[in-house]
Amino acid sequence: MIDMLSYFCIGGGIIFWFWGTLPLLGKRSVLFKLHSLSVSDTLGSMAIVFGLLLKLPSEWQLLILAIISLAIWNTMLGYVLAYCASSQEDL
């Protein structure tokens, strides 16, 4: 049961990865690509780490730390990239 759930989380995370990364190849604005990247890199990766956590709960400290740093750093990186890229376009 838990095994199924963990594979479900990892598989869902990989689907998020592919869905969010493919728009990078298109010709959209930086901000639009950032929206889809925040789906794939933050939410998809969090789902994958959560799946790994269900699989191997013995080393939960490191995986929880990975989830926290994923959430905080990727979100802040999204904000910083959006801020820098948009203020450059205004000039």
Binding site: I15, F16, W19, S29, L31, F32, L34, H35, S36, S38, V39, T42, L43, Q61, L62, I64, L65, I68, A71, I72, T75, M76, G78, Y79, A82, Y83, S86, S87
Partner: protein
Amino acid sequence: MSGYLNIILRLTIWLLLTSDLSLENIAIGIVISLILPHTHQSIGTLRDWLQAIGKIVMAIPTAYIEAIEMIFRPHQAEDIVIERVPPNRSSGLIFLDIFVITFTPKTIVFKYHQDGGYEVHRVKRRKNS
């Protein structure tokens, strides 16, 4: 009051990083979290902080719901709105506000104005709806 929250956050990260719950390690963690520099500005009331933490907990399922919605119904249009917040919030609370807005995949904050407003970039399903 929220100085305690700051110390608890540092101690949690220390314990997760070292993954060792012995008495000595907890003591070292407490000493380090007290030694690290902290600010003495106004840091908001405990109620503001509890509300912000509640918003973060709610943001995680919202983010996944929005992600699934974006996958099954493509959002092609984009626009910019300005979101108002009460002025004179402390920098920590502003950080948490920006974090919550940017964490959900449909919205990204890209500029903060001093007089209390965030410029938010959104994706939508179609134009002018």
